[in-house]
Amino acid sequence: MRLIEWKTMKRIYLDHAATTPVDPEVIEAMLPFFRETFGNPSSIHSFGQQARSAVEGAREMVASFMGAKPAEIVFTSGGTESNNFAIKGIAWANRKKGNHIITSAIEHHAVMEPCRFLEREGFEVTFLSVDSRGLVDPCDVEKAITDRTILVSIMHANNEIGTLQPIAEIGKIARECGVCFHTDAVQTFGHVPFTVDELNVDLLSLSAHKLYGPKGVGVLYVRKGTRMEPHMHGGEQEGKRRASTHNVPGIVGLSKAVELAGKTMPGEEARIAGLRDKLIRGIFDRVDDVRLNGHPERRLANNVNVSITYCEGEAMLLSLDLMGIACSTGSACSSTSVEPSHVLRAIGLSVEETRGSLRFSLGRHTEDHEIDRLLDVLPGIVRRLRAMSPAYRSMTAGRGAGG
């Protein structure tokens, strides 16, 4: 381990679920909208008209990509805002109709926290449990729906363990019951092909920076006829649904990123899935006492989440980072909490197993030799960290005695 090169070393980035690098073509597409075409799309003059044209072009691109109508696309500041808008917007608009919301125990914080906020406002929220692979049972959704239910919100794919939910089935149930259905598709949009009609959704959140676009821009798809209470009040942008001057470069960047995803998606996802399977196999071949978190088949093409027992995720992450390999763990100590991942707890992992969790999320630029490099260094890191774990020593000693 040499740290001297820490600032400049060639690095391997395996945290694409957190964010992705902006594609150079996306940057190129955005640049004119900082310089020449800097107008405010709400302005009447030619500067404004050019900018407006770009925003509407982007709206058409994003809409057609998901089989929606342009008027159903609301640009937002990103995934968190889209989720907040979807949940609070539906809840507030349907207060008279009911006060019950159904979601799952493994949603992203951007869904969990708006729901908890609404609980404090007097709404009732059902957090559905998931099975050991992270799946929501559509029957549970059906059972949970009452005549007071106004919204079901289940994520398309989980950001930590990669499990893909049976969204189309859940959407069908929600529709039959006349309940609005939202899905957080931040991890799948541009990675997994779908249309909003196939998924039977009324609302869908996405974010540009998870598909090689810029940070600070996203979309909430809102099916025509869905009543929403705005959560940002001001000008009349976005059909009076979301006030705020358009983030024109961001919206153009999102559009370009979507266009690129459309070109690369099929081949790229298969290639990444191949690398994912190689990584999973490689870890299981080289390290004992490992568990794969999430679903063995129904999972994102780029997601590997493992629990390595008797080995702390933090220490593994730190060791890997010092060797230039970036990943994440479900037990990171942030500056405000040391809570283990609610997702890993919800699929039944012990606190010990959540502590030993590592997530590798692959991307468009991940190469075979990078996976080889990771598989080269990980076993040694695990061996050294386990050697200092009293629990691991006594466990292996016990095994020896038992033959």
Partner: protein, 352 residues
């Protein structure tokens, strides 16, 4: 020789300057902040290891251009420190969790982890010195006697000493602040934390109650058992402390002993605090053999007293040349010889 060193960086001025010095010496330095799961203060000022401190530590590392990570030690804090702390209080003793933290966490679990990660040394911002004596690492007092923190470090396992560095060994607190200012570290004027990091600001009483220690009024008694007044709860008193009794007009009274079982605090005159020596248990030695005579400190602020020492089985007996006052069960006795730390132990009782 360039080494790979982890600096345990708290966000305070001392560890920040220690990080800077290591970097200037050319070592490969990585900053790690221990996250002890201490709840953020609402409103009031932050405590060690709170979110604000972690942000400060991160900022210093960014300025120094060294990697920075936080690691969760909340489980270790609970297991090795807080549980013992509560048990000791339940026995009517006054524990010193910082000594245990240095032994079990900083220079225990954290040191083991960074060693497993391939680092050569761990460094901290303690005022103490690591020297070589007869081919072995030896813990010695820092240059500035007033700031010396070896009292808190004496319980480190001897085999760990070889992997520890104290970059502030020869500096005074003022010099450390000057270095911080000269290098524009944003923590140069920060106040020192004197409190125990896991005790919330609501105070000892609230914390102990939350951990099922019964803090309720009881009797002040004299040595003969005569009731002299009412106290607020035995756990809020420590041996040697002035005891203020409502309506008492006699000579000033001091806490002589604490009887947790009966929730009684025994008080007496200042002269009654004096004892000729003490017995200590759970002794940790940093040398092969103890000399017959040395200097003992019985609390951090104690100046040190000349004494004779010997072992009675596992029990260390310390007999002072002059009687000492306020020998407090649960606190540590630390032995010194010529500026070197010989070791120490937990005070079990004063000798009579």
């Amino acid at each position: 020789m360039k080494d790979k060193v982890v600096i345990a960086i708290s966000g305070g001025v001392d560890s920040s300057v220690a990080a800077l010095l290591l970097k200037e010496q050319g070592h490969e330095v990585v900053g790690i902040t221990m996250c002890l799961g201490v709840a953020a203060e609402v409103g009031g000022h932050t405590k060690c290891c709170g979110p604000r401190e972690i942000e400060d530590a991160r900022r210093v590392c960014q300025i120094l251009e060294i990697p920075h990570y936080t690691m969760d030690f909340s489980g270790d804090l609970e297991e090795h420190i807080v549980r013992t702390f509560i048990e000791e209080y339940a026995r009517g003793r006054t524990p010193n969790p910082c000594v245990a933290c240095n032994r079990h966490i900083k220079f225990g679990t954290l040191l083991d982890k960074v060693t497993a990660m391939g680092f050569d040394f761990i460094a901290t911002g303690h005022y103490a010195k690591m020297e070589r004596k007869e081919g072995r690492s030896a813990l010695a007092r820092s240059r500035e006697a007033r700031k010396d923190q070896t009292y808190f470090l004496h319980a480190i396992k001897r085999e760990a000493l070889d992997r520890i560095r104290f970059p502030l060994a020869d500096l005074t607190k003022e010099e450390v602040r000057q270095i911080a200012r000269a290098n524009r570290l944003p923590v140069s004027d920060k106040q020192e934390s004197q409190d125990i990091c896991f005790i919330p600001e609501e105070g000892y009483g609230a914390f102990l109650r939350s951990r099922s220690i019964d803090v309720k009024p009881g009797q002040f008694v004299d040595r003969e058992g005569n009731v002299l007044g009412i106290h607020r709860g035995y756990a809020l008193y420590t041996t040697g402390q002035r005891a203020r009794l409502g309506g008492w007009s006699g000579e000033p009274l001091y806490v002589l002993a604490i009887d947790a079982k009966k929730n009684r605090v025994v008080v007496g005159g200042k002269a009654d605090l004096l004892a000729p020596g003490l017995a200590a248990e759970r002794v940790n030695l940093l040398v092969d053999d103890l000399p017959a005579r040395c200097v003992a400190k019985i609390r951090y602020a104690h100046r040190g007293a000349a004494c004779r020492v010997d072992f009675d089985g596992d029990l260390l007996r310390v007999v002072f040349d002059e009687p000492q006052d306020a020998i407090t069960p649960g606190q540590y006795v630390v032995l010194y010889d010529d500026g070197f730390v010989l070791g120490g132990g937990v005070i079990r009782e004063a000798l009579t």
